[in-house]
Amino acid sequence: MNKIKHIFLLTAGVLALGACKPEVDTLVATTQGTADFSRYIAVGNSLTSGFADGGLYREGQLNSFPAIIAEQMKKVGGGEFTQPLFTEQQADGSGYLMLKSLSAEGLPVTQQIAPAAVRGQITVPTSATSTVNVTLYTKYTGDINNYGVPGIKLLTSTLPAYGNLNGYFERLLPNSAPNNNTSYIDFVTAKPFTFFSNWLGNNDALGYATAGGASDELTDKATFSALYNQVLNKLTMGGQKGVVATIPDVTSIPYFNTVTVNAILATVKKANPSVQALYINARVSSETANTTYAARPATAADLVVLTFPTSKIGQPVATPAGNLPYGLTPLTPIENQYVLDVNEAARARDYVASYNTTIKAVAASKGIAVADIYTFLNGIKQNGLVENGINLSSQYISGGLFSLDGIHLTPRGYAVVANEFIKAINKQYGSDIPQANISAYRGVKFP
């Protein structure tokens, strides 16, 4: 019996040892440095709101980059972070795109999910002669930390009447359109806060770019500078700290790099080998003053938008010279709104560069952290990004970062961006907000 006892004792000893876990000294997330995260507010547009797949819906909101940052901030004393979520009953929000299938050639087929939170539509006059249709959503009442409003520009963030023109903003306001007269910046600063993120300014260039340079205009550089100062003065009026982000190169997103001139041309040539070129209606100069457009053959430097209905190519178009195929002759060029031509793209790049110079200068003058998302996303476009064994890139769908609209990010993309913000905050204020785990967030959903 004695030896059995020995074995028993040894086994017990081993089990006791086995219960000892190895420990490592992890990052001790204790300090918020010189910042105060007790009430963090997020100021910005669709990218701040969690907009994805061409819509604002609950899952996207839950994975917004400010929500991810706030969750990490809590580990160093950050406070509650409340988002103006669509309810679970109306989780589909504005409606959004879903990947329905992939064709045999690997082409995505998307499907529109119907909106769930639309409460109506109104027509609002914007001048004596023009009106705009505004879709209104179920009102949100309650505390707000994430003030992201899809569609808002820096240019419109100070307009008192903007709450009547943007359904996503109207949704947050106490009054119904057309009776609002509180500017966005006044609204977001009405309640005291200790820390902010500000990623306004994307739409000041993106609106122009996604419209193919056809219907929107780039915000004037001097105006941008004046407004950015004004907004940041307001946000730091009580000595608050914060983080701002630079504007990504609008031409670095899949929206402009997926349907390419060469790909369209190659397909056309398969059916009709005699076709030599696609024709586009293009801006003849990148100078702001020269707004002349003329038809010319497209080159690889002209960027076709993701939403271009390629079935239009070759369709007969009535012209003075008779019916001619769409997109294949100088008389029937691809329309302006489908192409960000080389001169339009140059203008967008030039303005974004100027905006970013402003953003960095204003932030520096106030000692505010800068998340340089412009440089970060350009780096990914050039080299991709490998992290935790995941290959991320700027590719549409397969890249994992960009959602189905080719402009906004996936939850994983937002987590990657949140980590860039966290790095910038920690660097500026000596805080130690832990990095988020990007592996826990999804890329594009496949059927």
Binding site: H6, V14, G18, L102, T258, A263, V386, N391, P434
Partner: protein, 407 residues
């Protein structure tokens, strides 16, 4: 027209082996003494430690032992406060030996069945490194018939042929979300075999010190037709054809050992061992899939291992004939260079401490208990291939028991 190349590249698994996968659990008496034995004549485990010493064994014997192994590892991703731990799963390395020769003859035959390489690492499906590895279960079982000949009273030689049987099961998440946001998964499982040999020489010097030198060759174990299972959303199924098979070679490296035995008194035996493990053969790990697609390409992952060494020492004290008390320890250098450490085995320099107890249950029956504790030093690493950065720390707990019948 929206032609997208689903270049979901490099989402394919790779297996790494390292010092961590060399199990070094050749026999309970030897484990108790810091896993020394190349320069000693203890029991049938000489088949493993030094086939040259087998002919010096005074008796015929048959023995079997098992060493349940608990590998506990923790990982802290850089810049976070998170800690991830491997699941408590017990691997079961074992060893069994038979040695026989006519009494008073100058030769002996031996047979060894043992598990010199293996690993069981399960990080779970939801940790930060799930796209690098979820779990790995690897075993290599060696079958080794051996012949040993005593050339003179003071010298014997021996050699054996090794047949290795390898079994692997590796799981890794694939970063493609399905409609519910769940990851895809790759599972590679299969078995294969390889061949090798070993040889050794054992000498008794005039000063009473015994010396052993042994060499165990590389045994590249090839999985010719493993099962490559990919669980992906149905829209991507054509990119990951099923069923599919893979071919992979696992280079199990050679080990060269030098051992010394000292006998200061009748009660005491002291031993020293030095090993050189030629891990440099492990330059890259290649998976060759039977069916490739633009997404599913063969993979070639650089490993660039360097040779590792171990130094071990141990002692045995027999206060009375029935009992033996053993102790020992050692140090092993890592085979994985900076930048190539993976969670499959978060290899690092390590030390180990061992203890053992031997008891003569009956005249011909020995019971041996052993316990080994290994500590892998904390290592902060960024894996280059996966850009996976963090700090690993691991402990290994290995109890063991064996029975030996000798006549």
């Amino acid at each position: 027209m929206r032609k997208i190349l689903l270049a979901l590249m490099a989402m394919l698994p790779a297996v790494a082996f390292s010092q961590g996968f060399q199990v070094n659990l050749g026999g309970q008496k030897q484990i108790g003494m810091g896993h020394t034995g190349t320069g000693l004549v203890q029991d049938g485990a000489s088949v493993f430690f030094n086939p040259g010493a087998v002919a010096m064994l005074p008796e015929n014997s048959i023995q079997a032992g098992i060493s349940p192994l608990l590998f506990k590892s923790v990982f802290n991703p850089s810049g976070t406060d998170a800690q991830y731990r491997t699941a408590n799963k017990v691997a079961t390395p074992f060893s069994a030996y038979a040695v026989w020769g006519p009494k008073a003859s100058s030769w002996k035959l031996g047979l060894g069945v043992y598990t010199p390489f293996g690993g069981l690492t399960d990080w779970g499906n939801n940790w930060q490194g799930k796209y690098v590895l979820q779990s790995l279960d690897l075993k290599a079982i060696f079958f080794q018939p051996t012949l040993s000949i005593k050339l003179a009273d003071f010298i014997s030689i021996g050699g054996g042929f090794v047949y290795s049987h390898g079994i692997v099961n590796l799981k890794r998440a694939i970063p493609v979300a399905d409609a519910n946001g769940q990851d895809g998964q790759a599972e590679l499982k299969g078995s294969g075999h390889g061949y090798g040999w070993n040889a050794g020489v054992f000498m008794k010097t005039e000063s009473g010190i015994t010396v052993g030198i042994s060499y165990r060759s590389k045994a590249t174990t090839t999985i010719e037709s493993g099962n490559a299972i990919f669980r992906v959303p149905s829209a991507l199924q054509s990119s990951f054809p099923q069923p599919n098979t893979f071919r992979a070679g696992i280079p199990l490296p050679s080990t060269t050992s030098l051992g010394l035995g000292f006998y200061p008194s009748k009660q005491w035996t002291l031993a020293l061992d030095a090993n050189l493990v030629a891990w440099h053969v492990y330059k890259s790990l290649d998976f060759d899939y039977a069916q490739n697609t633009p997404t599913l390409q063969d993979t070639h992952s650089p490993r660039l291992y360097r040779d590792g060494f171990s130094l071990r020492g141990g002692a045995e004290y027999k206060p009375v004939t029935k009992w033996a008390i053993r102790g020992g320890g050692g140090y092993s250098s890592t085979a994985a260079q900076d930048g190539y450490v993976t969670p499959e085995v978060p290899d690092a320099n390590r030390y180990y401490l061992t203890a053992g107890l031997g008891y003569k249950v009956a005249n011909r029956l020995d019971l041996d208990l052993s316990f080994e504790y290994e500590h892998l030093f904390k290592r902060t690493q960024t894996n280059i291939e996966a850009n996976f950065a963090g700090t690993y720390k691991s402990n290994v707990y290995i109890p063991g028991v064996s029975l030996t019948y000798h006549w």
